[in-house]
């Protein structure tokens, strides 16, 4: 049974929300007018073009006519090299960047401070305290198995199951120096088991002769599905979900190392179209933008937007995972690379 004060509180909250929404609407209208004068927003992104980037750009242009979205794509490594080189030469082309390497851009003084109105709906882990970045989509890494090659009773249930000799030479992962490979796995294990026990575990895992594939997670997922190896570590949950929907023999598990990341979107300092940039960041985290992300098969960051039912937005309850915030990226990665170089190479 509800009490009167509870109802009263709800009414106050609702009124407050309406007021805030009204203010936000007025802000947005003013922002749109200013952005329209700029006429363009330049988006540097390494995200998937045909499922995510182009639908997002098209939806933005429909929502805000008169502002053209110009996309510059490429690998994350390429884009950061470009952004840093452009800034050094005093050439500013990009308005927004996603996902951005916060630490490096911040170091070069390239991040604008902007906390969009719509980001207030995001949980604390998905937005920056200082407004330097805004969460765009999440991603969770875990174990993937080929169900044609691994019987249910053979699935690894605990971390120790991964040390079973039957998996020797049968597990694969990304060989790259990034959090979605050995360095991230090492840090997730050290976080879960502690420094001492963790190192012991990692050395035993290295003795399992993991197949290190120098390609991205999707390529490894494809090879796993084709039956090249029965198990792969540090695989995207949403990649597994997309393939399962197409009928591929794959299953995603949380019994091994699990790590989660937040992909972000940032407004660049010295952006040539600052208002259009703000409006764009706003749109990406709006309900409409997040629904697009969900439709593209990614985990949205807004709690009020449902992910596709096969896609996980948060690490399941009871699973110990390492969550890396964008600011921590460099520290965690550098530590992970050190461990990885010592133990697995």
């Amino acid at each position: 049974m509800r009490t009167l004060p509870g109802d009263f509180l709800a009414m106050v909250l609702a009124a407050g929300a309406m007021l805030a929404a009204g203010a936000a609407w007025a802000d947005t209208a003013a922002l749109y007018a200013a952005a329209r004068k700029e006429g363009e927003v330049v988006w540097y992104t390494s995200q998937v073009q045909n499922t995510l980037v182009r639908p997002m750009a098209a939806a933005f242009q429909r929502r805000y006519p008169g502002i053209k979205v110009t996309v510059v794509g490429g690998k994350n490594a390429d884009l950061i090299l470009k952004l840093l080189a452009e800034a050094k030469a005093g050439v500013y082309i990009a308005d927004v960047n996603s996902p951005a390497r916060i630490d490096k851009l911040d170091e070069a003084g390239l991040l604008a401070t902007y906390a969009p109105e719509s980001a207030t709906a995001l949980p604390a882990g998905y937005r920056s305290k200082e407004g330097k970045w805004t969460g765009m989509l999440g991603s969770i890494f875990g174990t993937a198995i080929n169900t044609e090659l691994v019987r249910p009773q053979d699935e690894p249930k605990t971390l120790d199951d991964y040390l079973d000799p039957k998996w020797k030479g049968k597990m694969a992962w990304v060989a790259h120096y990034d959090l979605g490979g050995g360095p991230g796995l090492s840090e997730a294990i050290l976080d879960r088991l502690g420094q001492e026990k963790g190192m012991v575990y990692l050395r035993k895992l290295a003795a399992q002769k993991i197949v290190q594939v120098p390609a991205n997670q999707r390529v490894i997922m494809d090879q796993l599905i084709a039956g090249e190896f029965p198990m792969a570590l540090m695989m995207f949950q949403h990649h597994a979900a997309t393939s399962i929907k197409k009928g591929a023999p794959v299953k995603w598990l949380t019994s091994g190392p699990v790590l989660s990341l937040t992909a972000n979107v940032v407004l660049m300092k010295n952006a040539p179209h600052p208002n259009a940039g703000r409006l764009f960041v706003d749109f990406v985290v709006s309900k409409e933008g997040q629904e697009l992300i969900s439709k593209a098969g990614y985990p949205p960051v807004r709690p009020d937007v449902l992910a596709d039912k096969t896609v996980l937005t948060v690490v399941p309850q009871g699973v110990k995972a390492l969550h890396v915030m964008p600011e921590e990226n460099e520290t965690v990665l550098a530590a992970g690379i050190k461990v990885y170089r010592d133990i697995f190479r």
Partner: protein, 583 residues
């Protein structure tokens, strides 16, 4: 007396002026070319040296030091890596050269059946993106590939017949990948070789084998050695096959750590630069010996002033072996990889080649690729970039090749400059050009011109191999005859050298056009908002979770590139034939 003196003084002046003019004429072409090459090659080289010395300190500061070189030399893995890399490079060079040269000789110099198929094979194969070739072979030879599946089915075991993740797997795939280049280069050489000596050898009673080894290959020897060095260096610094196939097998290579350091965001470029600089130095040493070796190259000139008409070599009852070589080449270089690509392009996700997988057959990947309306502008941009780069590169390298072979002043410098970009890693060259274009006094950044520039620098060594190999074969006497008849050097180049070199120039152009259209690492870095090329779309599909759609795009793109190449070939044959009066 005074008049006589004045007269002799005037004569002296006149003679001196003449000498100076001759001296200048001797220097002018080389100097001009050297200036152009320095402008092209030096900035990336300086940048390479700079990044190799730049050490980042904690807190964003940096200093110049030898840290990257020290790290490289201290790593105990360097020496096992060095050994593995040498074994890999030597073996795959031998395979590529032996295989490519055999096919080229059969096609150009014999009367084996189905010879024209070989050109088709090579052109289509080069039109296929390199990365898809590696992926296709990896798929074919893997556990799930048709060969191992068939073996396991027939033998009833789960043992593999052939494990692609091994040194032999790496050597095989790399050898096959480079054979088309070797074929194109050597076919241009064999086409120009003089049949007289082969005929004389046969008349004198030499066996076919003896004639081939003692005459045909001996005459092409300088070109073969030059190309072996070239392919060897390319193998030594290659990343893709050693990494994609060697690394999963835990075969540590020279490039392993460098590749991995480039996968960081942002990439650690110092390491890769230090490695490249070391290779540039090594290259200098190799060139010294190569230069000494080719000093007497004129002994091998076969295109002389005497009646020159290459005639096919009659294989007699061994004709079928020649035909079989052509067919095996067709299968290895083209049909098998293409079938693997096509198979995957019709699957919703990667599947082994089994009848049971046919139920999954889908055209979805093609539908998705064809529905994308950006592709038309990407195709146009790509054709412009690849054609412009191929043309500029061949102009520069034809002149360079001729000056080097004729030992004009500065020839050694020219050769070094043209070949140095061979060891520039694509990403370093890309970043160097990003920085240069940003600082250019005119708008260059983000244009197609930057990509063309990058390709010219990157592919100069390739163009040079064609032009240099071709020029080695032309005997000086033709040019001397023209000179005696009063032709200027420019006229000699235009009327004698270029027409005789045309087959090599055409092959080189086609090669650069095809690989330029498929280049990935630099295009992605240099493409601006309004200068996107096909490779960018290819990369997007490859890297971002549309694993199978890239096969559909790859099949369509290969078909399109083949069409382009055929149009070019027909055109070149028609006009080329008219210019040189041959074919």
């Amino acid at each position: 007396m005074a008049i006589e003196q004045a007269g002799s003084l005037a004569r002296d002046d006149f003679a001196r002026a003449n000498r100076v003019r001759r001296e200048l004429a001797g220097w002018l072409p080389s100097t001009t070319l050297i200036v152009v090459l320095v402008v092209l090659v030096l900035p990336p080289m300086v940048y390479l040296l700079y990044t190799s010395l730049l050490v980042e300190l904690p807190g964003g500061a940096s200093q110049l030091a030898l840290t990257h070189y020290a790290t490289m030399a201290r790593d105990p893995r360097l020496y096992t890596g060095l050994w593995n890399s040498l074994v890999f490079s030597v073996l795959s060079t031998i395979l590529a050269i032996a295989y490519g040269a055999t096919v080229a000789w059969v096609v150009e110099r014999t009367n084996a059946p189905w010879r024209s198929l070989a050109y088709f094979t090579v052109v289509v194969s080069l039109g296929t993106p390199h990365i898809l070739h590696v992926a296709a072979w990896q798929f074919i030879l893997s556990r799930q590939g048709p060969i191992n599946q068939l073996y396991m089915y027939l033998s009833g075991t789960s043992e593999l017949m052939f494990n692609v993740y091994s040194m032999s797997g790496m050597v095989f795939v790399q050898g096959i990948l480079w054979a088309p280049l070797v074929f194109l280069l050597l076919s241009a050489i064999f086409r120009r070789s003089n049949a007289e000596m082969e005929e004389v050898a046969r008349i004198c009673g030499a066996s076919i084998f003896k004639t081939v080894t003692r005459i045909s290959f001996r005459l092409a020897w300088p070109a073969i050695v030059g190309m072996s060095i070239f392919v060897f260096i390319r193998n030594l610094e290659s990343f893709d096959v050693p990494l994609l196939i060697g690394y999963p097998a835990s075969i540590s290579m020279l490039t392993t750590d460098i590749y991995l350091s480039m996968t960081r965001v942002p990439p650690e470029m110092g390491h890769a630069s230090a490695f490249s600089i070391s290779l540039v130095l090594l290259l200098g040493v190799m060139f010294y010996f190569y230069g000494r070796y080719t000093r007497s190259a004129e002994r091998f000139a076969t295109v002389t002033g005497k009646g020159f008409r290459p005639r096919a070599f009659d294989l007699g009852r061994w004709r079928w072996i020649g035909g079989a070589t052509v067919i095996v080449n067709l299968l290895l270089v083209l049909i098998i990889p293409l079938v693997a690509l096509a198979w995957n392009s019709f699957m919703p996700y990667l599947r082994p080649m089994r009848p049971s997988a046919l139920a999954l057959f889908t055209l979805d990947n093609y539908r998705i690729v064809l529905e994308d309306d950006r592709h038309l502008s990407l195709v146009i941009n790509t054709l412009i970039v690849a054609a412009a780069a191929a043309t500029l590169t061949m102009i520069l390298t034809t002149i360079a090749g001729w000056l080097v072979v004729r030992r004009w002043r500065g020839a050694r410098v020219i050769e070094q400059l043209v070949t140095a970009p061979l060891v520039f890693p694509g990403i370093i060259l890309g970043v160097a050009l990003v920085i240069l274009a940003l600082r250019a006094p005119f708008p260059l950044y983000g244009t197609l011109a930057v990509i063309v520039l990058a390709f010219v620098i990157r592919y100069m060594p390739y163009g040079m191999r064609y032009a240099h190999g071709g020029a080695l074969q032309i005997h000086r006497e033709l040019e001397e005859a023209a000179g005696a008849a009063g032709a200027s050097q420019w006229l000699v180049l235009r009327k004698i050298v270029v027409p005789l070199l045309l087959p090599a120039i055409v092959s080189g152009w086609l090669f650069i056009f095809l690989i330029g259209a498929n280049e990935l690492s630099m295009s992605v870095l240099l493409a601006g908002p309004r200068s996107q090329v096909m490779a960018v779309a290819m990369y997007e599909l490859w890297g971002n979770g549309q694993g199978v759609e890239v096969y559909a795009l790859g099949v369509l793109w290969t078909a399109f590139m083949t069409l382009c190449a055929i149009v070019f070939y027909v055109f070149a044959r028609r006009t080329g034939g008219a210019i040189s009066g041959l074919d």
